[in-house]
Symmetry: C2
Subunit: 407 residues, 2 copies
């Protein structure tokens, strides 16, 4: 039923799917170690000939890229799963080639002797579905840009709605295929952390531990609204054309606009005020003199959002964002009811100054889980980068994660 193809990526240029979001602030990173996961990693592809979504739509030939670090043990119970974050890929650790400028996004906590110890654990990281990075030639992820074999054309907006539960179920098919019997832990960042919650609610008997990092268990009305504005920018671009742009110019400006808001919302004023102050983009171009003259922070936003806009597929962005809006753990309207399905031990790693998923969201989840009797550890990441601290500040939790995984 399942087909796995290996793709050798040695010929590919140095790449950093998703990472471009973070390059500009790498200097502020508070600990991610520069040395990569030992050994090169390769992207593999998992394929399902026919997949039925949670919404009961059938998709023929669902494909999903993934990477593994370490080896599965004989009992099939040492697997740690890393679902993708919004805009990110499976590339959590190591390098594809020695020439890559950056390792995977959580390289600092993955590898021999690190919390996700690859001498001990079999770590699986996936591209998920409707991944925005498919244009990079490395990321593999079915979605609106995929060819609908019934028509020979891209699905565009006829691709069915994808939910966080769909992410989980395709990953479930993958780990079944790989021979995993129990999941030692699911650790995920942001949308990846939502998948961690959903894994524990959907397969409570199979998941021993979850580590949601800067994540929520239900998208509330305000967050639905914020995401609506991200999507609306893309749809405002006439090149989006109802999602039908694969044979023509892509809606780069719309995605760029959207990413500007994403970049700010996933950071914090402490970062912006420290890095840019009120400096001008050019010392001879006073913003008071002309509308075209910019502040330094505007230049950064223009450049960073432009890079992301070129890199991302607009429809895939829209589909991932809808999956986040739809998310309510365990498929229940009530957060408390959804969380009741979870039996796993939980380590929550929120960021103290997260503007996207405020600390209060995480505190509410913790309290509900504790009331119902779950073992919950709660550790706040600190730093000027708000939501992004889930990447840049993860090494603050090195010992906490290691201890959680040793019990």
């Amino acid at each position: 039923m399942y087909v796995v193809r290996m793709i050798r990526r040695g010929w590919l240029p140095s790449t950093a799917c998703g990472w471009i979001l973070f390059i500009a602030i790498a200097c502020l990173s508070t600990g991610s170690k520069a040395n990569a996961y030992d050994g090169l990693v390769e992207k593999k592809v998992f394929e399902i000939p026919s997949y039925t979504t949670a919404g009961a739509h059938v998709i023929k030939t669902v494909r999903m890229g993934y990477e593994t670090y370490g080896k599965l043990n004989q009992d099939g119970n040492n697997a740690i799963l890393i679902p993708p974050f919004f805009g990110g890929t499976s590339h959590a650790a190591g390098k594809y080639t020695p020439a890559d400028s950056l390792p995977g996004y959580w390289d600092g906590i993955i590898g021999p002797g690190r919390p996700l110890d690859t001498e001990r654990f079999f770590v699986i990281s996936t591209d998920g579905l409707v991944n925005p990075n498919t244009k990079d030639g490395i990321t593999v992820s079915s979605g609106p840009a995929s060819t609908n074999h019934d028509t020979g054309k891209p699905y565009c907006m006829t691709f069915p709605t994808i939910s966080i539960r769909d992410f989980v179920d395709v990953q479930k098919a993958l780990i079944d295929h790989l021979g995993v019997k129990r999941i030692y832990a699911v650790i995920g960042l942001s949308m990846g952390g939502m998948q961690a919650f959903e894994w524990a609610a959907a397969y409570p008997e199979m998941v021993d531990r979850i580590i949601p990092v800067v994540a929520i268990a239900q998208c509330n009305a305000f967050e639905i609204g914020i995401i609506d504005s991200w999507v609306a920018s893309i749809m405002l671009d006439p090149h989006w054309n109802g999602g039908n742009y694969y044979a023509r110019e892509a809606p780069i400006e719309g995605v760029k606009m959207s990413m500007k808001v994403v970049i700010l919302q996933t950071r914090h004023s402490d970062w912006a005020n420290k890095v840019f102050e009120r400096k001008w983009a050019s010392s001879d171009k006073d913003p008071a003199k002309s509308m075209e003259n910019r502040y330094s922070v505007q230049k950064f936003l223009d450049e960073t959002s432009s890079k992301l806009a070129t890199q991302y597929d607009a429809n895939h962005v829209i589909y991932q964002l809808r999956a986040i809006q739809l998310f309510s753990v365990g498929g229940k309207d009530s957060l408390a009811e959804g969380l009741k399905k979870i039996k796993a031990k939980v380590l929550m790693l929120p960021a103290r100054n997260d503007l996207l998923f405020p600390l209060a969201d995480s505190s509410e989840i913790r309290n509900l889980l504790m009331k119902q009797g779950n073992q919950v550890n709660f550790f706040e990441l600190e730093g000027p980068l708000g939501h992004m601290t889930g990447i840049t500040g993860i090494s603050q939790a090195t010992d906490v994660i290691a201890r959680f995984l040793s019990n």
Copy 2:
């Protein structure tokens, strides 16, 4: 030199310039009294034949609407000035006609026996410059939509950049014309509060008191970035056409997109989660089934931003937002240096859960002012509406304002 024309507005339909932002949440208002300022109010127009901006550009025939409540005393020292907030107008109190559905936005604190007691004070509220509401037929405010008499066409983007200092200086010309000798107090909301700070720094010998409500004294890098994203949405709309749209279709979709983000950023999740929860816009249209099906909060955002988009002039929105970005009190790079010019007594009314101008911004200003010896009162408005609490929650400060104005 100055020409004042009275415009009778009895024939105008019930209107609510700026208010439309707030109608949808009026039910949550925590105290603004329904009864209007006693007596009808009328819009007046102040005109300067030639005005030179802070950036040394000459504008011929600058016009600005204003309203007054109460009477100037013989010594000319009982004036309270209310500069406009972003997107708002001079309509702070009373009604234009008995049939108006809503009074001015701060009606609850203006009138006989109220803190801004019109038996005692001469209250002046202005439309300011580059006001986005000029299409309403009531608001009067020179800007890109005004006719450049040298060309006979609208200025569009050739209108010079306007700063908060320009707002202040045109208001200064108005009060000089009205015979005001000293300003008893300047009270302003958000961008109006920035003008209050700037008034006290620009004319320290003339201003006795300021009451900045949910305001900042310097636009920091993060806030510059947020505002950049608001402006970028408008410019993304092809109908914006470089600001040249007065003889054609206006960029309604771009302004709508921009206002979606404004509406969220000036509110708080406590409001959204209480009012909308995760309810669907239509009970038979599950957002999981189709991208076109929406949540209730999305419907609200669509409808409210559409109304604002129809009402606002896009270029005027862009110009007011640039004025905010440019703002640094006293024209100094350093916040501390700028504040040093201020001699007035200060009452700051920040909102505790303001997401646009966080409480920490206000605390920093307070500390700097106190260190340099100013008398500063600081009172936090509370409520689920974040920044908007400056309007909906102003009655929480009724006694505090009254006491501040009695000393």
